[in-house]
Symmetry: none
Subunit: 182 residues, 4 copies
Amino acid sequence: MFVKRDSILGAATELFSKRPYHMVVMDDIAKRARVAKGTLYNHFRSKEDLYVALLQDGLDNLLMRLKAESSENAIENLKLFINSLAAFFSEKKDFFEVLRREEGKLLSNKLKNCYEKTCSVKDLLHSILNKGVSEGHFRKDLDIQTISEVILGMIKSAISGNIETKRLSKTIFDMLLYGIKT
Amino acid sequence: MFVKRDSILGAATELFSKRPYHMVVMDDIAKRARVAKGTLYNHFRSKEDLYVALLQDGLDNLLMRLKAESSENAIENLKLFINSLAAFFSEKKDFFEVLRREEGKLLSNKLKNCYEKTCSVKDLLHSILNKGVSEGHFRKDLDIQTISEVILGMIKSAISGNIETKRLSKTIFDMLLYGIKT
Amino acid sequence: MFVKRDSILGAATELFSKRPYHMVVMDDIAKRARVAKGTLYNHFRSKEDLYVALLQDGLDNLLMRLKAESSENAIENLKLFINSLAAFFSEKKDFFEVLRREEGKLLSNKLKNCYEKTCSVKDLLHSILNKGVSEGHFRKDLDIQTISEVILGMIKSAISGNIETKRLSKTIFDMLLYGIKT
Amino acid sequence: MFVKRDSILGAATELFSKRPYHMVVMDDIAKRARVAKGTLYNHFRSKEDLYVALLQDGLDNLLMRLKAESSENAIENLKLFINSLAAFFSEKKDFFEVLRREEGKLLSNKLKNCYEKTCSVKDLLHSILNKGVSEGHFRKDLDIQTISEVILGMIKSAISGNIETKRLSKTIFDMLLYGIKT
DNA sequence: GATGAATGAGCGTTCATTCAT
DNA sequence: GATGAATGAACGCTCATTCAT
């Protein structure tokens, strides 16, 4: 049965979303998952493993979602990307929080795999933008690398800001394409 | 003499920029600041206090800088804001890292004061944008709240990306005003 | 069927011969005996009980062997004793190792019974020596108590030293009777 | 000040002499040494390190004693060796117990150094016997390797048996030289 | 004020034991 | 009887904090 593993990860996600790694203790996770502490270790080798599993599962989920929807048109594609990302994270606020806390610590050994997955998200956006440039939809004079980084930053900030999803996607998309100048 | 306090905070900033709060131990800070562990407690009541002091000092510094430069013209003002922010953080990469790690944990009791200071930054930007809109420089149809959140996100991402400061300010400013669409 | 009990004890003996009590975990024993962990508890009340059973069985076996062979002549009898002891332990090296590790811990409550059995071995030797003295084969001026203790120590050391059984018995027997002086 | 380190090792020796390694917990050692648990870790990196230090110190002590006394005559030398060994251990019963428990586990990595020291004791005896044989004091037809192993076994058993030191040395020495046969 | 040895609460982890299947 | 997932007490160890010097 996979139910217990998932209920543990769920409990852990809630807690890690509210406190940094070292302030979440295994007792808390066990208590919230309504299992004994020892049970955690029947499913995960260590606290770190549990944490990594949580990230892996979530990122896999996200990547699947992002790759599911895509269109021929680059602009449309960018819109879908932003929409999916915003939708995913507004559904899974807790996981979003965990991920946001994590960003940048991702270099520890066991987290390498996760790091690559977050890079996949960047790459996806990167390639959407590239296609858009070569098709003449997007400006040539902007550095794609910077732009994709920056777009993700925009989205993250907006999600953090607790803005309603639809509105968020629309505002970002609009602003991104046309700028804020009159 | 204030020298010792500052050298402690400097050492702490270096360490907190590289590791999360709980992986920096008081021994490390003492060693790097070349003082005995007990000395830390002559200057700060606790580890948390030391950490908060570090944030306070940095944020005060930043706010001072942001408020120092301003122009009559809203667009010019936005440019100055972005420039100052980018310049400040590229000078103080370590402090930037500490702040980035911190973001979102800022709700703990002792950190409330800091939280308000980061809000001041947002407010500053917010008022620049508002002024720009009412003067007709910026589009009316975009949600200022979202926009200011998003701009800060852009800047942070860009700084994290280690892009050279001048280029960074220019790219962001350009993209922000005119969008990426051809 | 007694087969399962024995296969568990066999597996346990192998493991306890290689590692001290607390470094052998019930999982290991179960795995090596190819049964589930719970099964161990159908046959033995606890880990300690299992361990004690192992010692009891082995010591019973040994005592039986030692008592089986005996002669009228005291010197011959001593020889038989040494031979039997050496032969038994070279057949059951694992059990020997367990016993050697154990020696001296034997004071815990449940192990009292075992302790008495090891004393029986000493007593056996003691009476052989006594008989030898009263028959005039062995020197009167040596303390029998010390001598029997010492002889057992000799044998144990020799067995630990991995010396071939026949040679071992002979060397010890010879040295014991005639000493090492020219 | 070296006093604390020694008082910790003293407390540990008492405890390790009565119970096997895994049944002595750091709390016990701390309590008996009248220090806090953390203090143990200011003096020793780990429980294992503490244990090894205890063995090292004791063995160094023993070797020094054994090497201190020696004579030209091989037989006299053997007597001195037996006397010293017996005297040392009857002074330090606890350390003797620890060492006896340990024997054979000595192969773990950190214990290698200790293992070599116990070998030095054997080597010392070995060379005494060799000298005696070549000088014609001891029988040529016995295997020195076995004999030295066996002699140590005798001594250990005798010490374990709680026999009074003087009497012990004398009995063993006598029996060793002349055998038990009339 | 400066020092660093001492402290002990609290953590991650293990493992003998239980019990529903 | 056999199973193995679940349990939780107990361990080794860390580290923020204190305090005698």
